[in-house]
């Protein structure tokens, strides 16, 4: 371990990749120093970042491998733990075949860890390897993939400062990616026009010049409506559409039906505002679209993303500084986990499973005789298959699927149905409670490796601390597991794995440990050692085979479940600034918990009045899947008829449905039907 | 039997009921309670034979902003003194109605401040608000213009 104090590090929470320093005292993380020189956060840090010491030093940290016995958890030696894991994997493999195995990688683990993780799965003969990107941005991969050729943020976050119009749809960045706010505010100071489309009024809406409160699940209609206005008012960038895209005529055809009045009826937004938004976006010299899970987590997730791309393309707002599409990803390495092929349908570098050429490349690189040919099961499908007994052994690295997947009761049944479940994590969580074997992992500050932020910035993280007890870096655990499985891996450390990654993933071709350690990393694509990275994508051509973007028309579809007489409320879920995802980290921080202690539900005061609900009342919420309790919070942040639940507490996903987008297989977390009563 | 027979004597006329003595007492022998719009401060009884717990450290007297605590040596045979309790009427917050300070505390504050800065007339004065409501009022005033802007 290199002796540096304070030690530079990268925040383990969201996908922005903010830098800060850890101050060390006697081998412990004792303080934080800000990093004003970091290009993303410029020294700032959100509330969660400010409390990482509470996570690192938490007494609940897993310290020893644990085996479930009839009398409870038993501490065992690493050797025994890994022998057991390997034996169970091999046992299922021999008895039921490779597709009885499944692997869930982690968007919180490094590129190297995810790369090795999927390599183990594939060398064992299955593509049943996925990661939680399936739950947040799978539709970004499909939607931007088919239009632009690659499913990644097109511009760095700092570029937003140069946008003349920022159109935010389905992103509450002020709470979920707070440091984005400083760039948006910078743009506003230069006169940028900010549009925020969100069913809720959030602190992000406060920054808007025009706030569009749409009915949840009507994003395609709004986007098509804006495009209709742009086409009919002659605001299309004809030259761009002609030279750099294909399919304008088909798109134009579909858009005809989306006149502002029709769209107003669907979305609930006054037609004048739709027109105003369309004009502001199209007329700006440079305009950016910022979106997040309000777009992706729908059965129409792929279509929503596609429509965002169509809008940017017909206005030529892409491929320039300040003009692009910025999907804000969820976790610190969700981009990297996908780049590394911890996805059931992609090899590292997005070579399609099933494409013989892509498979051939990996086979040659890995010296493998044969790789599985058909796409594996996605994260959501793995749970379904486990429920049906088709998956026998599941290996989960750093995810709490009981709380992160929809329909928690069904997830629990599926986990109970497994022959063997391994959970590798830094804390015991609700999923680990179902495990047969729990492996203690090192946290971000206790290991080395590369992480790819939402802006494709690959940064190298150096260890600052020793892991607690016998906890080990995920990579080290995987190396030893691979050895037990009889896989011959030559690597000694993360740097050596990254060397192989640069051979496997073209965009990482020039990325190496020593280069990443300087100047806050590199932004991919960085194809060779002399390349300095590519902050802005699609400047000259798109990543499609012919270099042209595709305009793909999409139609509005209603969500899978809509409110009715039995379940009259529309329930939408999302995040809050003080907590994070399934909460295994943030719910262990006392300072965060004392500000946000329990599950609450936002309800409009008018609905509350009708139902005689007062602030602070305990409510029971019921959906077709189950019921949960939450404390009433009366607020006009939600519209009448709409309820909002944050998903950081157990209970929220008891209610949500596993209706999936047919292409991306992402669940529709954003819309379910629900009813409430006083508890 | 201890020699010291000093007795703690709070002076009702001076005491403003601020509770500095309750926080100062290392043995927590001085206590307070609040009920409705009354605050009571209880000083220890003096058994007259020298108290085991109260070493007569005088921290309470030192803490008292009004020099309201003194110690006396009763003449002759010391007599037993019952627990001594002083009662104070509380002022309720003009905004939320919560009793938050004694009349005497607020008078003291008002007098001290008026020597330095001009005070607004009674009835429209932040001293009559509890600290929580003062912060809230300040917040609301600060946010007023912005909220108007964001409501349009």
């Amino acid at each position: 371990m290199e002796e540096k104090n304070p030690q530079p590090t990268i925040c383990p929470y969201c996908s922005l990749g903010c830098g800060f320093y850890l101050k060390l005292e006697a081998g412990k993380a004792a303080g934080i120093r800000y990093m004003p020189e970091h290009p993303v956060n410029e020294g700032s840090l959100c509330p969660k970042g400010n409390t990482v010491l509470e996570v690192l030093n938490h007494p609940d940290r897993l310290k020893y491998p644990l085996k479930k016995t009839e009398t409870g958890w038993e501490r065992i030696e690493w050797e025994e733990a890994l022998d057991l894991a390997a034996a169970k994997l091999k046992g299922s493999l021999e008895e039921y075949g490779p597709d009885s195995l499944a692997f869930l990688g982690s968007a919180k683990c490094s590129n190297e860890e995810n790369y090795i993780f999927q390599k183990i799965a594939r060398l064992l003969g299955t593509n049943n390897v996925d990661n939680c990107a399936r739950l947040c941005h799978a539709s970004t991969l499909t939607g931007l993939g088919k239009t632009l050729g690659t499913g990644a943020m097109t511009n760095p976050i700092s570029d937003l400062a140069c946008s003349e119009c920022i159109f935010v749809i389905g992103s509450n960045f002020a709470e979920n990616h707070p440091a984005v706010s400083r760039r948006v505010l910078e743009a506003k100071e230069k006169g940028a026009f900010v549009i925020v489309a969100d069913p809720r009024m959030t602190p992000t809406s406060w920054l808007a010049d025009l706030s569009l409160r749409l009915v949840p699940g009507t994003d395609v209609a709004l986007l098509n409506g804006m495009m209709h206005v742009i086409v009919s008012e002659g605001l299309v960038d004809r030259e761009f559409a002609r030279e750099r895209t294909k399919g304008f005529a088909e798109l134009e055809n579909v858009l005809q039906r989306y006149d502002p009045e029709t769209v107003s009826r669907i979305t609930g937004i006054p037609s004048a505002e739709i027109i105003k938004a369309a004009r502001a976006y199209a007329r700006a010299g440079t305009a950016a679209i910022v979106y997040s899970m309000g777009i992706t987590q729908h059965i129409s997730g792929t279509d929503n993303v596609t429509a965002c791309a169509d809008l940017a393309l017909i206005c030529g707002h892409i491929g320039k500084k300040g003009a692009g599409i910025l999907p804000l990803r969820g976790q610190n390495n969700v981009q990297g986990a996908c780049d590394m092929g911890a996805l059931s349908e992609f090899f590292p570098g997005y070579g399609k499973v099933g494409d013989p050429e892509a498979a051939g490349r990996m086979q040659a690189l890995w010296g493998a005789k044969k790789l599985p040919e058909s796409p594996g099961l996605t994260a959501t499908e793995i749970v379904g298959a486990a429920g049906k007994g088709k998956i026998k052994t599941l290996y989960v690295m750093g995810e709490d699927l009981v709380n992160s997947h929809p329909d928690s009761s069904r997830v629990k049944q599926a986990l109970e149905n497994l022959d063997f479940l391994v959970v590798q994590d830094i804390f015991m969580n609700d999923t680990a409670e179902y495990a047969d074997l729990v492996l203690p992992a090192a946290s971000f500050a206790e290991k080395e490796g590369s992480f790819t932020s939402t802006e494709r910035r690959v940064q190298w993280l150096e260890p600052a601390l020793m892991p607690p007890g016998e906890a080990r870096a995920d990579l080290e655990i995987l190396f030893r597991l691979a050895e037990k499985l009889g896989l011959d891996f030559p690597y000694r450390d993360a740097g050596e794995v990254l060397e192989e990654i640069s051979a496997a993933v073209p965009a990482y071709g020039g990325i190496a440990k020593e280069r990443l350690k300087k100047d806050f990393g590199l932004i991919w694509p960085c194809p060779d050692a002399g390349h300095t990275g590519t902050p802005v994508l699609h400047t000259d051509s798109f990543m499609t085979p012919d270099g042209l973007a595709r305009l793909v028309p999409v139609e509005h579809r209603s969500p899978a479940e809509t409110p009715g007489p039995d379940y009259p409320f529309l329930l939408t879920t999302g995040r809050t600034v003080l907590h994070y995802n399934a909460g295994s980290m943030s719910r262990r921080c006392k300072s965060l918990l004392k500000r946000e202690a329990e599950l609450y539900v936002e309800i409009h005061p008018a609905d509350a009045r009708t139902m005689e609900i007062r602030e602070g009342n305990k409510l029971v919420l019921e959906s077709r899947r189950g019921s949960t309790k939450a404390t009433a919070r009366l607020t006009e942040r939600v519209s009448p008829g709409v309820l909002f639940l944050p998903f950081h507490f157990p209970g929220t996903n008891v209610l949500t449905a596993d209706a999936l987008d047919r292409e991306a297989k992402i669940p529709e977390f954003k819309v379910s039907a629900c009813r409430i009563r006083r508890g | 039997m201890k020699e010291s027979t000093r007795m703690l004597v709070p002076e009702e006329e001076k005491c403003i009921g601020c509770r500095a003595c309750t926080s100062a007492c290392p043995e927590k022998l001085i206590t307070f309670s609040e009920e409705g719009n009354m605050r009571s401060i209880s000083f220890p009884a003096n058994c007259g034979t020298g108290c085991e717990l109260c070493e007569l450290c005088e921290l309470c007297a030192l803490a008292c902003p009004e020099n309201a605590i003194s110690f006396i040596f009763p003449e002759g045979e010391s007599e037993n003194v019952e627990k001594q309790t002083l009662d104070f009427e509380l002022v309720s917050c003009q905004k939320c109605g919560t009793p938050f300070a004694t009349i005497r505390e607020l008078e003291k504050v008002r007098t001290a401040i008026s020597e330095k800065v001009p005070l607004p007339p009674k009835g429209d004065f932040w001293v009559e608000l509890c600290p929580g409501c003062r912060q809230e009022v300040f917040r609301e005033r600060q946010a007023e213009a912005l909220i108007r802007e964001r409501t349009v």
Partner: protein, 158 residues
């Protein structure tokens, strides 16, 4: 003029980072953020008054003010709470029996709440003219923002 932490409320996003940064550095947060009517967030901390009324009422000489601003010696605090009753902003608080106040993270270049603010809403400046301060700061930021690499420019004649 004493310096204090001010907020440009038009930038505040209610993220509470200021509170958590302060709490980490000082055990308790000396800044408190609340949202008003779902439409604006206001962080409030010690205003570092030029005539600090907390010091005016302090009987124990724990709080003193002079040319170098307000000085506080917690050793001398008797916990009488008169400062709490004197503070017009309701920011003076007692913790563990003694008054606790914002010292602008003495010893640090910038107070933690200011340094951590993701939206750049907080700043530490002289109290002289708060409005003037916010305007001057905004002007400075705009100047800086406009000097950064130009965007593609407004589209014309399409």
């Amino acid at each position: 003029m004493p310096k204090a932490v001010y907020a440009d409320l038009s930038r505040c996003i209610a993220c509470h980072a200021c509170e958590l940064a302060c709490e980490r550095e000082n055990e308790n947060s000396r800044i408190s953020l609340q949202v008003v009517r779902d439409l604006a967030a206001v962080p409030v901390s010690c205003r570092q008054c030029e005539t600090p009324l907390c010091a005016v009422v302090c009987p124990g000489e724990a709080l003193n003010y002079g040319d170098s601003g307000l000085e506080y010696d917690s050793e001398k605090c008797t916990g009488c709470r008169l400062c709490v009753l004197a503070c017009p902003f309701g920011t003076a608080e007692l913790r563990a029996g003694v008054m606790e106040r914002c010292d602008l993270c003495q010893g640090k270049e910038t107070p933690a709440c200011v340094a951590t603010c993701p939206a750049g809403a907080l700043f530490c400046a002289e109290a002289e003219s708060i409005g003037g301060n916010i305007r001057a700061r905004r002007a400075e930021r705009i100047k800086k923002a406009l000097a950064s690499p130009a965007s593609a420019g407004r589209r014309v004649n399409r």
